[in-house]
Symmetry: C2
Subunit: 147 residues, 2 copies
């Protein structure tokens, strides 16, 4: 009988790897931007969503109010919008400004860090627009081949 079982060795490897994964900045970033509404909030605050349906996008970052974001991201629940904005604020990607009017006025805008991340994410957008058709086609082919 070995001094460490296979299960123990796997548990140790897992613990080490979990630590590595948790510390890995790329993984951290991926989980950051892959939230369901994160990319949409970036697009809206980054000026890549039309102000109104049908309008052109300016491509210029601009502040937006909570209710305007809620309208632009049609379908988002209040809970998820607030949660998403809060976590982005916590990470310093979005700035939240409260004006003490009655009722209060709250605006959100991208920080410099947020703008920089938004620019990086547009590389993904470009790849997606260029190649996702191929991916979808590959899926269809695979599915018919395998029944």
């Amino acid at each position: 009988m070995a001094t460490t079982t296979a299960a123990q060795q796997r548990a140790r490897a897992k613990a080490e790897y979990d630590a590595f994964l948790a510390a890995c900045p790329s993984r951290e970033l991926l989980s950051r931007i892959s939230g369901k509404w994160v990319a949409l909030v970036f697009a809206a605050l980054g000026g890549n969503a039309p102000r109104r349906p049908g309008d052109d996008c300016t491509g210029e970052p601009r502040p937006m109010r909570y209710s305007e974001l809620a309208r632009t991201l049609a379908g988002v629940s209040q809970k998820m919008l607030t949660q998403t904005l809060r976590s982005l604020e916590r990470d310093g990607l979005v700035r939240r400004t409260v004006e003490p009017t009655v009722p209060v006025t709250v605006t959100y805008e991208l920080t410099d860090l947020g703008v920089s991340l938004h620019r990086t994410m547009r590389g993904l957008k470009t790849w997606a627009e260029t190649h996702m058709d191929d991916v979808i086609a590959n899926r269809a082919t695979y599915d018919t081949r395998t029944g």
Copy 2:
């Protein structure tokens, strides 16, 4: 009383938006690459993981066998490794080759499409390595400010 209730209007907006979201290539791509093991598989097959702990990375894409991948991605379960590889194969990002030896030899390698996506993802990696420290610091500041 209105002819459509607020709940009905929201449901309609949600249905439309869900369709938009499902069709959005960027969202599709994000969910594709944000799987826990996807980036690691890309790094391994793309030559950005050391062949053995301590080795330098070649940066050259190369085929790897299933067991070699399992060793490189320490901590991955067989289920998740197989599932990840299958889905990448389905999307045409990874090619799976079976040699009918006894027992069988199976190798995985990036396709051209996979290499192209891997290159795009390195933009994220660069941003992460440059800026994630700031993000972590921002988090800490936010947490102390809010208690």
